[in-house]
């Protein structure tokens, strides 16, 4: 699904589909949904951390896509546009759950002594599990930076905090993941 989303972006087919969507063609909207829903659902899942919230958020985001598609300009990247709507909806879902993002003191994060990454194995399952257990603030920043590939500055704007707070949160999040994965290696 992710591949189809990438292929569709800024192609004549994509333009055609978007034009039909703008004219209210529900079948064309289904095509757009099919192309992007899997990738966007993964964003929702990472951000909200549970299937039910992820699906609800995805649905709300696509309703917004449907309502706003007439605003999408021809030169714009469809995937980036949809992704931004989805991410905004994810952040709204978090805010409804009373997750707030606040500035923190800019302190230097030191790697925990004794964590030698060469001594343990990184696995996808272990990293996923570690990210899943992160505090919401850390997880949000880490996901937006590492998986959604937004810059620190963009994340700061989205969350309404300073760039330095974003960097600090990200460093702490990474360190926490390392500790959890290390722990998993030890107990294995």
């Amino acid at each position: 699904m992710k591949a189809s989303a990438t292929n569709l972006n800024q192609t004549p087919l994509a333009e055609y589909i978007v034009e039909r969507c703008k004219k209210g063609d529900v079948r064309a909207f289904r095509e757009l949904y099919d192309a992007y829903s899997a990738a966007m659902y993964n964003i929702c899942l990472r951000m909200t951390n549970n299937v039910s919230d992820a699906e609800d958020t995805l649905q709300e985001a696509f309703i917004q896509v449907h309502r706003s598609i007439h605003k999408l300009e021809k030169e714009s990247s469809i995937s980036a546009w949809i992704k931004r709507i989805v991410v905004n909806h994810c952040l709204n879902t978090l805010r409804k759950k009373k997750v707030y993002f606040e500035d923190v003191e800019d302190v230097e994060i030191k790697a925990e002594e004794g964590i030698d990454e060469a001594q343990f194995t990184w696995t996808v399952a272990a990293v996923k599990s570690a990210i899943h257990t992160l505090p919401q603030g850390y997880r949000t920043v880490l996901n937006l930076y590492l998986f959604e590939e937004y810059s620190h500055r963009e994340i700061a704007e989205m969350l309404g905090i300073t760039e330095s707070t974003v960097k600090t949160q990200y460093m702490r999040a990474k360190e926490k993941v390392r500790q959890i994965v290390k722990q998993q290696n030890v107990t294995r």
């Binding site: 529900v26 899997a38 899942l45 998986f147 990474k174």
Partner: protein, 185 residues
Amino acid sequence: MPDNFESFIRQHREEFEEKGPSPRVWDALEQELTVGRKGKVVSLLQKNWFKAAVIVVLMANAAALFYFTRHREHQQQELAVIAPDIQEAGVYYTTRINEKLQQINAYPDAALGLDSTARKELALRNDTYKALERELKNNPGNERIRAAMVRYYQLKLDLLDKILEELQQKHVAPGNTKKHYEAEI
């Protein structure tokens, strides 16, 4: 410079992807889109019902004028027909229309949501009426003009009834406001 953790994520990025959402998301979405569309139309109608009503009047007027002018030549050839009893019908409809207009005019402007042009169009003696009346005087026996005049009265009466019905559903009748509050107390 990416550390081991970041490098690992980037190398295995695809493996972090889960399969897509369940079909229930699209089902709910499709339903929402369809309902949204119907809702939009309904809410637009509700919001602009008065404007829609005025458009109906204007269309009725235009239709009456079109009907009238189209048959103008024909009418002139039929001038010598029987004397009309349109006066009687006119008195009947005029009385009823004026009653309805009085009731409607008792509502505040905000409740009506009409500008002066639209209000003028609702009045009994609007431009269409005057044109028909003039032609009727000049061609008193013409059946088509008489029919157009009666149709005009009927359409206007129907429309005013509908407007009053809507106003009564949406707002407390102006005369009953006090009674309504008293009943509540």
